[in-house]
C-alpha cells in the first residue's frame, strides 16, 4: 500500500532543533531596550521543530516522490528538458560567484562583470543581436521587458501604437506579457500548414500594430519559412518583430533570429543552455536587441573600459529596472560554462541532434497517433490523440499512462490549436535507445486504448499517489496547512 508522506508540521517535537548558532560574542542588551514591546511579534512563531536527521529524511523521502531529468526521459514539449551538466553546478557554487553582494564596488567584482560581458558576446553572436540585458529572471520576464522596450521605442517616436499580434499557437505568456504592457492583443490565425497565415497577417497589419510576437520554430515545432516576408510586412507598417526564444535550441548555429529580421529576442538559458529548471525555477531570460532598441534597455549594462569592466547607468531613455539587481547571475554562470564547452560546432551539433531525434520519433509515432501537421519538424512535434478521444481516452489520460512506464509525459493540451495535443520534445541529450523505448510505450498505450481503455483512463497505477483530484483542489482551496501539529 502506497503511503502518504507526513508534512513537516506533523514531524518533530517541541524543543527539538535542526541547527546550532553561536552564542553572542558581545555585550547583550535586553530585548525590550532594542525592540520596544509594542513592536514585537505577538502571535506564536509556529515553525517545525525537527532534528537535522529528521529533516534530511523528510526531504529525501520527498525527493523519491519526484522526477527530474536525472531520473529519466523528460520530453516535455516547449521546455527543452536537456541534460544539465554537473560541472555547471560546481562552477556556480564557487564562493567567488555565489558569495558576491550585488552592491559591491565594481573593482571588487571584475570577474563577475567579465562573465556577464563574455556571455553577452556569446549570445550576441548566437542570436545576431547587438546588445543583451540579463535582468529578466525567466522567459516571461524577458517578454515583459521586450514589450516595454517596444513600447518605449514607439513612444520615443511619438507613435502610440495599441496592438500586439500573437499567433493562435503562441504560448500563454506572450499575450499575458503584452497585456502587462497595456497592449491590446489580436490573435493571428495559423494556416493549414501550421504556419503564420500570411493573408490574415496582411489583413491584421496596420499602423496601430506595435509588434508581432513570434516563436520560430513555432510551438508546433515548425519553422516559419516565410519569415523574411513576415518581417518585411511587419516592418513596412512600422511594427517591430519580437522573438520568443523558447525554441532556439532547434536552430543554434544554423540560423539566427537577428538575420531573420527580429528586433528583440528573449532567450531561456534554462532551456537552450542547459541550466536546470529547479522544479520551476530559477531560470534566466536575457533579452537581446538590435541597435535601434539598445538605448531603451534596462539599467545598468556592463561595459568594458580602459581600466576594466564597469556598470553603465546613464541611459536617459532606459525603461528603468525590471529586476532588483542584475537578474539571475548564478544561472548565467552555468549557461556560460556550457557555452564555453560547447563552442560553435558543439552548439550546431546539439541543434541538429535535437532535430534529428524529434523527426525520428515523429516518423515512428505518426503511425499510432494523428499528426495534424505532417511536415518536417524541428526540435519538437505535436501529435493529436483525437482518434483515441473517440474511444474515451484523452491526451491527459495518455500522459498519465506514460507515468507507469517510467517516462515523463509530453506537454499536453498545448498549443491550443491542436485538439488533444501531445507535444513531444526529445532534445539532443537522449539516445536512440531511449527514443525507441519511449515510442514502444506510446504504441503500447495506443493498443491499450483499443483493448482496455479503462486501464488508461484510470492510470497511473504505479506512482506514489493515484490520479489526483484537481477539481476538488480548486473548489475548496487549501493552500496553507491549518491542521493541528502532532508530535511523533
Amino acid at each position: 500500500m502506497r503511503k502518504e508522506q507526513a508534512l513537516l508540521f506533523e514531524l518533530g517535537a517541541p524543543g527539538r532543533r535542526g541547527c546550532s548558532l553561536p552564542q553572542p560574542d558581545l555585550p547583550v542588551k535586553p530585548l525590550d531596550e532594542l525592540l520596544p514591546p509594542e513592536r514585537q511579534r505577538k502571535s506564536a512563531l509556529k515553525l517545525p521543530e525537527v532534528s537535522e536527521g529528521e529533516l534530511v529524511r523528510h526531504y529525501t523521502a520527498l525527493s523519491t516522490r519526484n522526477y527530474g531529468v536525472d531520473s529519466g526521459f523528460y520530453p516535455l514539449g516547449s521546455c527543452t528538458m536537456k541534460y544539465n551538466p554537473k560541472v555547471n553546478e560546481e562552477a556556480a557554487r564557487q564562493p567567488g560567484f555565489a558569495f558576491l553582494h550585488p552592491c559591491q564596488p565594481a573593482e571588487s567584482v571584475q570577474g563577475a562583470l567579465e562573465l556577464f560581458y563574455r556571455t553577452e558576446s556569446y549570445l550576441k553572436e548566437i542570436t545576431g543581436m547587438d546588445r543583451v540585458t540579463f535582468q529578466p529572471a525567466a522567459g516571461a520576464h524577458g517578454e515583459l521587458t521586450g514589450m516595454m522596450l517596444i513600447r518605449a521605442y514607439h513612444s520615443s517616436r511619438n507613435d502610440q501604437r495599441k496592438i500586439v499580434l500573437a499567433p493562435d499557437s503562441s504560448h500563454g505568456t506572450n499575450p499575458a506579457s503584452a497585456a502587462m504592457t497595456g497592449y491590446k492583443i489580436k490573435e493571428l490565425p495559423s494556416d493549414e500548414r501550421g504556419l503564420v497565415d500570411l493573408k490574415a497577417l496582411r489583413e491584421l497589419l496596420n499602423e496601430e500594430v506595435a509588434a508581432l510576437m513570434l516563436t520560430n520554430p513555432n510551438t508546433l515545432g515548425l519553422f516559419e519559412e516565410d519569415i523574411l516576408e513576415i518581417a518585411a510586412l511587419v516592418h513596412d507598417v512600422g511594427g517591430l518583430l519580437y522573438y520568443d526564444g523558447a525554441n532556439l535550441n532547434a536552430i543554434m548555429g544554423h540560423a539566427r533570429p537577428g538575420d531573420m529580421g527580429f528586433d528583440v529576442v528573449h532567450l531561456n538559458l534554462h532551456k537552450t543552455f542547459a541550466t536546470p529548471h529547479g522544479g520551476g525555477g530559477p531560470g534566466s531570460g536575457p533579452v537581446g536587441v538590435k541597435e535601434h532598441l539598445a538605448p531603451f534597455l534596462p539599467v545598468p549594462l556592463v561595459e568594458k573600459g580602459e581600466s576594466g569592466y564597469y556598470w553603465k547607468d546613464d541611459l536617459p531613455l532606459s525603461i528603468g529596472k525590471i529586476h532588483g539587481f542584475y537578474g539571475n547571475f548564478g544561472v548565467v554562470v552555468k549557461a556560460y560554462i556550457y557555452l564555453v564547452m560547447m563552442g560553435a560546432a558543439g552548439l550546431r551539433q546539439a541543434a541538429a541532434d535535437a532535430v534529428l531525434n524529434a523527426n525520428y520519433l515523429m516518423e515512428r509515432l505518426k503511425r499510432s497517433y494523428t499528426l495534424p501537421y505532417d511536415r518536417r519538424c524541428k526540435h519538437e512535434f505535436v501529435l493529436s490523440a483525437r482518434e483515441q478521444k473517440k474511444k474515451g481516452v484523452s491526451a491527459g489520460d495518455i500522459a498519465k499512462a506514460l507515468l507507469d512506464y517510467g517516462f515523463h509525459p509530453p506537454t499536453v493540451y498545448f498549443p491550443l490549436i491542436v485538439e488533444e495535443a501531445l507535444m513531444v520534445e526529445p532534445t539532443e541529450t537522449e539516445s536512440k535507445k531511449t527514443l525507441d523505448r519511449f515510442a514502444e510505450a506510446l504504441e503500447e498505450i495506443a493498443r491499450l486504448v483499443e483493448e482496455d481503455p479503462e486501464h488508461v483512463t484510470t492510470a497511473p497505477h504505479t506512482t506514489p499517489v493515484g490520479r489526483l483530484d484537481e477539481v476538488r483542489a480548486a473548489r475548496k482551496p487549501r493552500v496553507c496547512w491549518e491542521g493541528d501539529e502532532k508530535s511523533d
Binding site: 548558532l21 553561536p22 505577538k42 502571535s43 521543530e49 537535522e52 529525501t60 520527498l62 525527493s63 523519491t64 519526484n66 527530474g68 516535455l76 521546455c79 544539465n84 564557487q94 564562493p95 555565489a98 558569495f99 553582494h101 550585488p102 570577474g111 556569446y122 548566437i126 522567459g139 504560448h171 505568456t173 499575458a176 497585456a179 502587462m180 497595456g182 536552430i251 548555429g253 540560423a255 529548471h277 522544479g279 520551476g280 530559477p282 529596472k321 532588483g324 539587481f325 547571475f329 548564478g330 564555453v340 563552442g343 560553435a344 552548439l347 550546431r348 551539433q349 531525434n357 523527426n359 498519465k400 506537454t411 539516445s431 499517489v465 490520479r467 489526483l468 484537481e470 483542489a473 480548486a474
Partner: protein, 450 residues
C-alpha cells in the same frame, strides 16, 4: 571537437540509421525549409571550445578576480543579506530529483516538489500571519510590483502610493511595471528616515489602489505603523507591506499591522547572495485576495483512493489558461530558492530563527554605537533599528568604500545616488555572520578617516 561532446549520446552510426529511417540523406537536409539567405554558412564565430577541465579552470580564474564575502567581511544589505546557511540546505536542494525537474505539471510524479511548495507556502503564511501564499516570484522587487498591479486589479483603481522609505531599487522596478500599464505612482515623503505619515490622509484619495510600505524600512528602521492600515482601508486602498522575513521572528507581523498583501525578499532564508540573483520573491495575502495572487499556487487534494496529495491549483488565474486576462504573465518562478527557504526555516525552527534575528539586532546595535561614537560619523536617524542603520559620513561613501576595500572590508551602501538629500551617508548592515572582532576591525578602519 567540442568540449561538450559527452552531452550528446548519438553516435555517427546511429545518426545515419536515424536519417535513413526518416528518409533524409544528411543532417543539412533537416534544415531545407530555411530560406537560403538566413542559413549560416560559416558557422558561429565563437572561441574554440574547452574541455571540462579547461573550462573549470577558466571559470575559477574569473571567480578569483572577485572579492567574495567569505574572504572580506561585508556590511552591505539593501535587500540582499549575508546570513549563515546550514549545510543541510545546499545538500537537500542539490538533490537532482528536485533541481532537474520542471514545474510540477504531472502531479503524480511530482509529489515531492508539490508537497515541499505547499509546506513553503504554509511557512510563509506562518511567518507573516497571512492566509495564502504563492509558490514564489522572481525577487522582492518584482513581488512588490506584482502586488501593486494586483491591488489595482482588486480595487479597480489606477493609483499607487509608495513610501520613499521603500528600497529604491524596488521603487525603480515598480515604476517600470506601473508605467507600462499607465498606472500612476506617487511617493510619500520621508521625515527623519521614516515615512511621513502626517501626509498620508492628504495623499490618499478614492483613486488610490494601494499604499506600499517597507518594514523594517530601507534605513533599517521599524516604522510606527499603528493605525496606518485603518487610514488606508478607510479610503478603500489596500495596505501592502514589503518585509524582511528574518525580522518576523521578533517583530510584529504584517497581519498584526492589518496588511492585506505581504511581499518580500526571501534570499536571506538559506540562499547565497549570488551577486543579486537567483533571489526569492515571496507573496502572501489575505484569503479574500486569493484569486488575485499572481503565479503558481499549490493546493491540497486527494487521490482516487482518498489519500492526501498536492496539485497546482487555481490555474484559471494563470497565463496558460487565461492568456491576456491572466493575473500575471509569470510561468517559471524561483522554486528551488523557495525549497531552500523551506529547508532553512525548518532547520532553524522557531528558536533558531529567533536567535538569528536576535544576533542581528544585538550586533547591529553594537556596530551602530561604536561607529557613531567616532568623530565625523553620525547616526542619520533616531528610531528603532533592526539589522541596518544609516550613518552620515565625513567624506563621500564612494571614497570610504575604496578605503575600506584596502583594509579588506566591503563597506556599506553609499546612499548618495539614491538619497542625495542626505548628503554623504552610508547604510550599514550587520548580521549574525559578523564577529565582534570583525566589527571592531571595521570601526578601527573608520577611525580617523575623513
Amino acid at each position: 571537437m567540442s568540449g561538450g561532446r559527452h552531452y550528446l549520446p548519438l553516435t555517427d552510426a546511429e545518426r545515419q540509421e536515424m536519417l535513413a529511417a526518416i528518409g533524409a540523406d544528411s543532417v543539412e537536409q533537416l534544415y531545407d525549409e530555411l530560406p537560403p539567405a538566413i542559413r549560416l554558412k560559416d558557422g558561429l564565430k565563437l572561441p574554440p571550445p574547452l574541455s571540462e577541465m579547461e573550462a573549470l579552470a577558466h571559470l575559477s580564474e574569473l571567480a578569483v578576480k572577485n572579492r567574495h564575502l567569505r574572504e572580506y567581511p561585508c556590511y552591505l544589505g539593501a535587500g540582499v543579506y549575508d546570513h549563515f546557511i546550514p549545510s543541510v540546505v545546499q545538500y537537500l536542494t542539490g538533490r537532482s530529483e528536485f533541481s532537474t525537474a520542471y514545474t510540477p505539471y504531472q502531479a503524480e510524479i511530482s509529489q515531492g516538489l508539490l508537497q515541499s511548495i505547499f509546506e513553503y507556502q504554509t511557512l510563509i503564511c506562518r511567518l507573516t500571519g497571512m492566509e495564502a501564499a504563492n509558490a514564489s516570484l522572481y525577487d522582492g522587487a518584482t513581488s512588490l510590483a506584482e502586488a501593486a498591479v494586483a491591488s489595482c486589479g482588486a480595487t479597480r483603481r489606477r493609483k499607487v502610493l509608495v513610501s520613499r522609505a521603500v528600497n529604491p531599487y524596488y521603487r525603480q522596478v515598480l515604476q517600470s511595471y506601473l508605467q507600462a500599464r499607465e498606472f500612476q505612482l506617487e511617493e510619500l515623503p520621508l521625515l527623519k528616515g521614516e515615512t511621513d505619515y502626517a501626509r498620508l490622509e492628504m495623499m490618499l484619495d478614492d483613486e488610490t489602489a494601494a499604499l506600499l510600505l517597507q518594514q523594517p524600512n530601507f534605513f533599517g528602521l521599524l516604522e510606527e505603523m499603528e493605525g496606518v492600515a485603518e487610514v488606508a482601508h478607510r479610503h478603500g486602498a489596500l495596505l501592502v507591506l514589503s518585509v524582511d522575513p528574518i525580522s518576523l521572528a521578533l517583530c510584529r507581523t504584517p497581519a498584526e499591522y492589518d496588511a492585506d498583501i505581504v511581499t518580500g525578499e526571501g534570499q536571506a532564508l538559506g540562499n547565497p547572495p549570488s551577486f543579486g540573483g537567483p533571489l526569492l520573491g515571496f507573496f502572501a495575502a489575505r484569503q479574500k485576495l486569493l484569486r488575485r495572487i499572481p503565479g503558481r499556487i499549490v493546493g491540497e487534494t486527494r487521490d482516487n483512493q482518498g489519500r492526501r496529495g498536492f496539485v497546482l491549483t487555481l490555474q484559471t488565474r494563470e497565463q496558460h489558461i487565461r492568456r491576456e486576462r491572466a493575473t500575471s504573465n509569470i510561468c517559471s518562478n524561483q522554486a528551488l530558492n523557495a525549497l531552500a527557504a523551506a529547508v532553512y526555516l525548518a532547520a532553524l525552527g522557531p528558536a533558531g530563527l529567533r536567535e538569528v534575528a536576535g544576533l542581528c539586532l544585538q550586533k547591529a546595535a553594537y556596530a551602530r554605537e561604536k561607529i557613531t561614537a567616532l568623530d565625523g560619523f553620525e547616526q542619520a536617524f533616531p528610531g528603532v533599528h533592526f539589522k541596518e542603520f544609516a550613518v552620515r559620513l565625513p567624506g563621500t561613501g564612494e571614497r570610504l568604500n575604496r578605503h575600506l576595500l584596502e583594509h579588506k572590508i566591503i563597506g556599506g551602501l553609499d546612499l548618495q545616488p539614491y538619497y542625495p538629500e542626505l548628503g554623504p551617508a552610508m547604510l550599514f548592515c550587520v548580521t549574525e555572520t559578523k564577529s565582534r572582532a570583525q566589527i571592531d576591525a571595521l570601526v578601527r578602519a573608520l577611525e580617523g578617516w575623513s
